[in-house]
Symmetry: C2
Subunit: 331 residues, 2 copies
Amino acid sequence: MKTTIRDIANQLGVSASTVSKVINGKGSISPELRQKVLAVVEEVNYQPNLNAKSLRTRTTNTIGVILPDVTNLYYCYLMKGVEAKCQEENFSVLVGACNHNTQREREYFDLFRSKNVTGIISVTIGDLSRFSDVSMVVSTNEQVDGECRSDWVSIHNEPAARDLTQYLLNLGHRDIAYVNSGQQDTVSNQRLKGFLSCMEAHGLTVPPERIFDGSLFLDGSYQAGRRIILGGKLPTAVICHNNTNAYGVSKAFRDAGYRIPDDISIACFDAINQGDLYGTQYTCIMQPVEEIGREAASLLIRRSTGQLPETPLIQKALPYELVFGNSVRKL
Amino acid sequence: MKTTIRDIANQLGVSASTVSKVINGKGSISPELRQKVLAVVEEVNYQPNLNAKSLRTRTTNTIGVILPDVTNLYYCYLMKGVEAKCQEENFSVLVGACNHNTQREREYFDLFRSKNVTGIISVTIGDLSRFSDVSMVVSTNEQVDGECRSDWVSIHNEPAARDLTQYLLNLGHRDIAYVNSGQQDTVSNQRLKGFLSCMEAHGLTVPPERIFDGSLFLDGSYQAGRRIILGGKLPTAVICHNNTNAYGVSKAFRDAGYRIPDDISIACFDAINQGDLYGTQYTCIMQPVEEIGREAASLLIRRSTGQLPETPLIQKALPYELVFGNSVRKL
DNA sequence: GTGAAAGCGCTAACAT
DNA sequence: ATGTTAGCGCTTTCAC
């Protein structure tokens, strides 16, 4: 059996509360007794039962992160930021993988809540409004409409998409296809909006046939790529909603014998990897995802200690970057 | 305030223990009462306080994983396996990043223990013998000598290194350099041993100058690459202890103007990525790392439920694979 | 079949 | 400055 506070108290003939006070540096204890207690704590290598402590104090110092996939580097770097911040603040990190499955995400949410986590970092686009105690949720997605029910840390997606589009236009591209996420969330809408508005500002109308439904998964993205190829006249460039879309679309093009960027230029968001199997580094908008993770964790921790007012909800947009790879060519 | 078992009991005018029994399917409760309780549980969307439950039952259904780096895909896939198994078994995963820092690793170990985890998955080479309750630790590294103090799930590294070496010999390589991990753990020793014994079996003596001290980090590995280059006559191939070593060594070669595999062949262990920035896919020994993660978690869970005898400790070696990339050429 | 009571290890009022 | 007491929410004998 592990040593408890009571064991230490008995060994010294003092009360448990005295030992507790010494350990937590609370109340006032005489220096001599303090020393004696600390000596025993050291001697028996006392390890507090954090479970019991949590039950009593109603605080677990734990943050839950629910990710679609722990092998997608984008999420890994998010996690890295969360973990680093938590480590600094003496918090622990619980992690769950949901593979974009809403049901599973919900299960993890409930599980983490049952474990009394301080907060949950949500990376998916799931509807957060169903949760009553939203103050314990921070989203890593931009939310702009009145539906916003939680803090968020992200980037401004519309201008980001505009910048990416502008870059392609500068290189001479005019016929640009767009592969969306296949979802109707705010982020997806904002990115598409940025693309369209930039095209429009240059007097270019994007016909509906140039907008393709992608997917959150590789397979679906590959299919989107197939549809572009089978659609007749190829665009000169494709902008993809995210890295998974870009990988899927690229594979479709490669499988069909096209070279990137010689035959088709591909740009996207968040291609945060070491290049794909073919040595392609994607030109992309890069979110400061590690920093987003840090900020999200920080927000949760500050909220939990009452350092943040109930309203307004925090909406933090961090600066993004346009990263130049070798997936886009000048026309 | 969240609904507790007592709230439900009061609402129904029954005792807390009755509600508890219904929820956990223990004891014997009349079907009618059972139904009534379940109805309320449903109605109020009762979420148990797992913290309290853990305190009472002395079991948290949680596994801790301490990784050097959550953005190294090798560890990410390990994590994926652990998480998947835990999800199936209704366990949670606590994750910590230690960056190969022994002190930090130790801190996480103590923290996780204070949180009463069911077990800890150790991926580092740290000395496990200092922990009294070793049955709660499973290593993902092969341990062969009498020092073995915990279960492990891994591969047999010596034959794996031999196979990799044999492959290079088959391609005509004779002058092969070896970059080790810079550590003295069992895995490192076994891999080196496999390399040397295979060379020897072919009548080739490896001079000490052909063994280079690598590192667990990219920088140190880069330096090892530099030393190979500055050492005079180049070998035709380099075998690296792991993926980090290979990336560092390769970068050194590339920075010095060498091409892979035209000027130098590079092989390693566990190059589990989508290729590096230059489109190189490494020829390597691939551990079934996701499966190792699953097995490690499974082992911990079974141990915790008394399904495994105290002795002998489990030593599980899984089959590895030789994966062919484009980092090695035929001479 | 159901309930009363005790207690997991800890902390925090409230004495003294 | 120290100790007593109660209780966090749950489970588990043990009565009835």
